[in-house]
Each structure stands twice: as structure tokens, then as C-alpha cells.
Symmetry: C2
């Protein structure tokens, strides 16, 4: 940036944020300098702390700055149901969209042998041990409806059955509010084949 190498550094550094190009980064830097110094400083501190301290929960592998995350530590949540997701983002989406009050397990990936992601990387031994504790009755498999996500779901279902736990899967179909002509063929074919009787 003209006149200030430090401002140029700030604009460049802001580009690590997703969806932020040169123009947005410049607008952000000027906005912070002109109007939001206090909140900018606050962001700097929280960001450093988050990057340094947030790891993964030892029990569910969700993001957590404590050894056991606040969800696992919450004694009021249902201990009979476990929902398995690929990522903390998926966990957050389910928490925000549904009334689910059970436990979680985060794979931090999906089975993908070519990328070196096998049962060990996904913590499946830990998941089996968890099923073996005997509290869990249902395992909701919420991996993504991709080829790898489906393969992972298949593997997880076997794991659940081996542990005497009932596996369930999120329903697939036409999204609510979606118009048929814009739904992809695979989804439409699946929804058609899985049609249900009206009462």
C-alpha cells in the first residue's frame, strides 16, 4: 500500500481468509484502521489464541481448546445416540439446523485410500471402543452423500452392527423447496426409487 509497508503486509495477510481477494482485503484494512482499531486488536488476540490453542476433543475429535469439548462434557445431552460426521463444519450445521441432543464423533475426513485416509486416520478404533462402552444404542451416520462418504457410511454401519449398535442414515431425496427440474439426476432417481406411500 502506498506509504506504509506495514499496511501492505496487513492487506496481504488478510488474503488468507476464504473469499477475500485484493480489493476486499484493502477495504478491510482501511475499515479497521479508520474505524475499528479496538475490535481489530481484539480480533488479533483471539485469532492468535485460537490458532495456538484449539486442538481436537480427545473423546469426539471435534474442535476444542480443552481436552474434552463442551458438547462431550455436557451431562444433559442424550448418551444413547451418537452422530458420526466427517468434519466440525458438518457437526455445526447439524447443531444449528436440527434439535439433535445426542453425542457426536468427528472423523476429520472420510475413507479415501488414495489420499492415505484409512480407518486409523479416521479414529475408527477409538469409535469402536466408544461403541463398546455399552451406552450407545443408535449410531446416526451423517457422512456426505458422495462416493467416498457412502463408502465410509457402509464401513461405519458394519462397525456399528459389530458393536451391537443400530446404524441409521440421514434420508436422501429432493431438498425441501427444491424444484424438480433443478435437482441433479442421481438425487431425483434416488428420491423416485425411495418414494413413500402417503397416508
Amino acid at each position: 500500500m502506498p506509504g506504509s509497508p506495514l499496511l501492505a503486509d496487513l492487506i496481504e495477510a488478510l488474503r488468507c481468509l476464504p473469499g477475500v481477494g485484493g480489493k476486499s482485503a484493502q477495504r478491510m484494512a482501511f475499515h479497521l484502521l479508520e474505524r475499528e482499531r479496538t475490535r481489530g486488536l481484539k480480533l488479533a488476540g483471539v485469532l492468535r489464541e485460537a490458532m495456538e490453542r484449539i486442538g481436537n476433543c480427545t473423546r469426539c475429535r471435534n474442535f476444542s481448546e480443552e481436552p474434552v469439548c463442551a458438547l462431550c462434557a455436557n451431562a444433559s445431552r442424550d448418551r444413547q445416540v451418537l452422530c458420526v460426521v466427517e468434519s466440525p463444519t458438518d457437526l455445526a450445521a447439524i447443531e444449528q439446523a436440527t434439535g439433535y441432543r445426542g453425542q457426536y464423533f468427528v472423523l476429520l475426513g472420510r475413507l479415501s485410500p488414495l489420499d492415505g485416509l484409512g480407518p486409523e486416520e479416521l479414529g475408527l478404533a477409538q469409535l469402536s471402543a466408544r461403541l463398546g462402552e455399552g451406552e450407545i444404542e443408535e449410531m446416526i451416520i451423517a457422512t456426505n452423500p458422495t462416493v467416498e462418504g457412502e463408502a465410509t457410511a457402509h464401513y461405519l454401519a458394519q462397525l456399528a452392527r459389530a458393536g451391537g449398535v443400530k446404524p441409521t442414515r440421514l434420508a436422501h431425496g429432493v431438498p425441501l423447496g427444491g424444484e424438480l427440474e433443478y435437482v441433479d439426476r442421481g438425487t431425483l432417481a434416488h428420491a423416485f426409487g425411495s418414494r413413500q406411500a402417503l397416508e
Copy 2:
């Protein structure tokens, strides 16, 4: 955010960035945690340093972490022309869009008596002293084409003439590539009244 109070703090803190709402802030936080820890830490450091150290150049009032900014310190720039702008953002826009190689003076505002912004707040005594140094021959007035910006331009032109310096103003008119039907009435009327003979 479910499970991590520190992650929730990070998402909240990211909302100080312009144009970043709850959804974007969440996407940014997850992106940094999952894929960009190193650049996230770098951003935290640069942001803190910028918020703490960037002040204003003692000579031109542009943003600068040094007493005299890199533009004022650049001996290869033309010392006979001074461009006056309202803000560092305007200075950056001119640097990026034009081939201007002269000096700048940043008002950090515009004359606005109701907001308590008078000649003192805009550093006009300092500007006069600068004109009095005798090097400057032309003062380009690049305040915004708003009511307050025009009033400021009028005041600045008098200041220039009093200092024996020639005031000039950016041309107004229809933006290049702009279609007449979308140009605002005031601009169109001005452009029409200021029409120029073709050679």
C-alpha cells in the same frame, strides 16, 4: 460454536470485518483452523502490529508506521505538485488508477461544521505552511464530488491562491463506459453543461 467457546469468540471477533456476517465468519474460522493455521497466526501478528503501530505521517497525514511515510520520503517523486484527498482510501485509489508521481496531503475528513470538522481538524494550517515552503506550483483538489466535498474544494482553492499556488480540480462528467441512462441526473446535467468542442 458447539463444543468450543474459543471458536465461538473467534467467529464473533471476525465480524468486525466489513461485509462479514455470521455465516461468513463461521466459514472463515473453520477454514483457518482446518487448513491455514500458519497464515492465520501470521495474520494475527500483522494485525496486532498494524493496529498498534500505524499512525499518520507527520507531513501528509497518510497512514504510516514511520514519522514520515514512504511516499513523502521518496525523493524521486515530483515536489511541484500536491494532491489533496479526503482519506487514505482516496489516496490509494489515485495511486492505483493514475500515473500520478507528485506529493499528497490527506485531510482525514472534509469541512463539516455540524460534525465539528473545521480547518483545524483537517490540518489546513499545516497545509498552508506546506504551500508556503515555495516548492509547490499546482495543488490538485481531489475531494469527493459531494456537497461537503465541493465546499471543501472551494475553501482549498482559496487557500492555494492565497499561497500563490495554482488550484486544479478533477474533471467531472459521465464515467467512461457508463451508459447515459444509468448516470445520475446531476452528473448528466453537469456533463451536458460542460460539453467540449470536438477537434
